[in-house]
């Protein structure tokens, strides 16, 4: 991976461009690094970016707003406005600028205009919800998001955001439902499966932990090296064996499943033993992991 933690002021132009592209595609929120890259590396010759120039300007603008660098954000918006006067994307950035400054009414006015101009674009409605979140009105944001999802039912990002909001309200049941809607659009994504399993496990109760275990298993099928899913299998099996009313067969099944997952965890830890910074601590960790086994 190009983008690891390092000093971004000394990288080459190509590396900087690659890193920005990677972060754009992954939806990473590394705002300070983006601003640093722009200022030290890429702004020296912006014309070399050619086709990517405007997307980079957009990315840098949002990162600048995140770092509270209003001067840089203003510069980016001006540059984009010169290139595309009257563009709705530039107007959206302008509205986000007002949001970052706390001028909610001005921003709301711009969004109303944008929505009226283009009813089918979900991006502007999502910003309206984000404004409510920015003002701290979480319950109203949840309501607005539910309304948005009635018209845009396949918007997986909105469902994901809804799931996160319900989790902040500790409403695990609705968060799990929202997460299931996300899974409908990407059923083989092991990260979503693991997240849903986490939510179910947090809900507690025999049924939910059994469902969590099933989802952890499914996540492992798609991503066999997923350490968190392995831990999830161990924890849910231990929980079921210890607290639920099970037949002897089921108990045996869960115990062996937990033992198998534990074995894989230990193998994974042992495979990185040679790189371990502190070998004593490493062996303590392995011992503690082995201690999770039920006998």
């Amino acid at each position: 991976m190009v983008a690891d933690r390092r000093d971004w002021t000394t990288v080459s132009f190509e590396e900087g461009r690659e890193a920005l592209k990677e972060w754009r595609e992954e939806h990473a929120r590394r705002s300070e690094e983006v601003v640093e890259l722009w200022e030290h590396v890429l702004s020296r010759s912006p014309s070399s970016l050619a086709d990517e120039l405007c997307t980079v300007y957009e990315q840098v603008c949002i990162a600048a707003l995140d770092c509270s660098r209003t001067d840089l954000a203003h510069e980016c918006i001006n540059a984009l406005h010169k290139r595309f006067p009257g563009s709705s994307r530039v107007l959206r950035l302008q509205a986000m600028f007002y949001e970052a400054r706390g001028q909610w009414k001005t921003a709301a006015g711009i969004y109303e205009k944008l929505i009226a101009a283009d009813e089918t674009n979900p991006g502007f409605r999502k910003r309206r919800v984000a404004m409510l979140l920015g003002q701290g009105k979480r319950l109203e944001a949840i309501k607005a998001l539910n309304e948005h999802l009635e018209s845009f039912i396949t918007d997986s990002e909105a469902w994901l955001q809804l799931s996160e909001l319900y989790l902040t309200e500790s409403d695990y049941a609705r968060a799990a439902h929202a997460m299931e809607e996300v899974l409908l659009t990407a059923p083989t994504n092991s990260i979503y499966l693991r997240r849903l399993a986490d939510i179910r496990y947090s809900q507690g109760g025999q049924e939910n932990v059994e469902v969590a275990r099933a989802y952890y298993d499914q996540a492992l099928k798609f991503s066999p090296a997923d350490l968190r899913a392995l831990y999830g299998v161990v924890l849910s099996c231990n929980c079921l064996v210890a607290t639920a009313r099970l037949t002897a067969d089921k108990k045996k099944e869960y115990t062996t499943a937990a033992a198998a997952a534990l074995q894989r965890i230990v193998e994974r830890y042992e495979s990185v033993e040679s790189d371990a910074a502190n070998p004593e601590e490493h062996s303590n960790i392995v011992e503690a992991v082995r201690g999770m086994e039920i006998h």
């Binding site: 509270s68 970052a100 798609f222």
Partner: protein, 125 residues
């Protein structure tokens, strides 16, 4: 997980031998057919159909080859649809950047915090 299409036995030496032999037999049948047509052309006889033994050899070797190959190939593997997600982090996957808000503590880290927010610091001495 779906079980192997050809039964549970993994590829044994017998399967490999049958696969090799039936493949050779198939090639031999093809060669025989070509030779037969050449013979007919040389003796100026019309070509209507291949002799029954060549047809039988082709079909039999094909069936044995298919059966032996399914054993040699082994059980089905699940489709690795999720390879890319193995390296991704929840921070990036769950970031929901369309909903990003700028109301967080990093505002105070900005060098122009006092000027921007309209809040002036008063230093009382």
């Amino acid at each position: 997980m779906p079980s192997s299409a050809s039964g549970s036995a993994p590829a044994t030496f017998l399967h490999k031998v049958i696969a090799a032999v039936s493949f050779a037999a198939l090639l031999h049948a093809a060669y025989s057919a070509a030779q037969h047509r050449l013979y007919l052309r040389l003796t100026e006889q019309p070509f209507t159909a291949l002799p029954a033994d060549i047809v039988a050899q082709t079909l039999a070797s094909l069936i044995f080859l298919c059966w032996a190959c399914t054993h040699v190939a082994g059980a089905f593997q699940p489709i690795r649809a999720d390879i890319a997600n193995g390296r991704r982090r929840w921070d990036d996957v769950g970031s929901c950047l369309s909903f990003v808000t700028f109301e967080h503590r990093a505002k105070a880290l900005s060098p122009t915090y006092a000027l921007d927010s309209g809040r002036a610091f008063t230093v009382s001495l």
